[in-house]
Symmetry: C2
Subunit: 204 residues, 2 copies
């Protein structure tokens, strides 16, 4: 017999909802950034005391890492979906930029990319956790480009990273979705032009 999911745990039941607390913390981190959110801010927002916080989440950095997982599964840009399509490369990359514009401006109270902005914090642990997600995304984009244009993949990958960091920054600076989208499309012109020239060169 396996233990069923309905079997209660032993000790005193937790008096707050874990997922709800994580969501609250995510909102805080996204709105203010890792460094600017103190444990006191978190415990107050969740409505618990420090010992409950540390018992449930380990530490501020641990909680942040858990939130990054949550974000990658729910709020982040779905790179596999956008990149695995059998559309032209430039179209896919522009779609990524447009999706970035959409998501970065989705919540006015938590603008920008949680991961990109998180990687800018001073805390070594949190920076490393966010950096791992960034690296993963960068590699996904790099491989996607390199499959067809290995020579230019690095350069275009740099461009994508830079534009996305810029979009996240501009979102935090108050640019709304329309402005971000216009910027993303303007940035896409460089991509389309590059791959158009590539095709010309090949067909010659």
């Amino acid at each position: 017999m396996e233990q069923t999911e309905s079997r209660r745990t032993r000790g005193r039941p937790r008096q707050f909802d874990l997922d709800e607390a994580v969501a609250t913390a995510q909102r805080l981190f996204h709105a203010r950034g890792y460094d600017a959110v103190s444990v006191a801010d978190l415990t107050q927002a969740i409505g618990i005391n420090p010992p409950s916080f540390y018992a449930a989440f380990g530490s501020k950095a641990d909680l942040y890492s858990r939130i990054l997982d949550r974000y990658a599964a729910q709020g982040a840009i779905p790179l596999p979906d956008l990149l695995s399509a059998d559309r032209p490369i430039a179209e896919c990359l522009v779609a990524v930029l447009e999706e970035a514009a959409r998501r970065y401006a989705a919540d006015p109270g938590a603008a920008g990319c949680l991961v990109i902005e998180g990687a800018r914090c001073a805390d070594r642990e949190a920076k490393g956790a966010a950096g791992a997600f960034i690296t993963a995304g960068e590699e996904a984009i790099y491989r996607f480009i390199a499959a067809r244009y290995p020579d230019q993949a690095a350069c275009i990958q740099d461009y994508m990273s830079t534009v996305m960091a810029g979009l996240s920054a501009s979102a935090r600076n108050g640019h709304n979705f329309d402005r971000l989208l216009a910027t993303a499309r303007l940035a896409g012109v460089g991509l389309e032009q590059t791959f158009a020239l590539n095709r010309q060169g090949r067909e010659k």
Copy 2:
């Protein structure tokens, strides 16, 4: 008779060089960002004690503001020079982006733009001081574009801000000058294309 510059001040002479101290502080702020530099870091790097620091500079935020002035005069992108030229608009804007790439990667120990990165800090006072410089730069670029293309000035201005923020972020992420320059030029394609289409539309 006016008092000459050689006239010494009354009390005990300062035992450290003011300009040198400001330069040291600028290096620290540029390398780590406003929030991550403590007064203790500054006093230790300069070689003085806190009271001397506060007597000389007022506060951390005051010193930062003074450093922004210094940076605007020495280290920042010379927008008037680059924009007042009677070259095509796109060429000027690309020159700004290329100059940004050059300066943001100039010092590996202090990558990115002191002003752009400073505007991202948590301290209200420092954020406001840096924000004023950013606004001034943005307005200069906006006016430059609007003089000939008023309809598209806002959009292109957004694009410029976003790319420059991205370049600064990528510089902090370790991109060297060559990589930043390639990114800046790729970003310039969107500008050239836009203004090329504009001319086509006019000549029709």
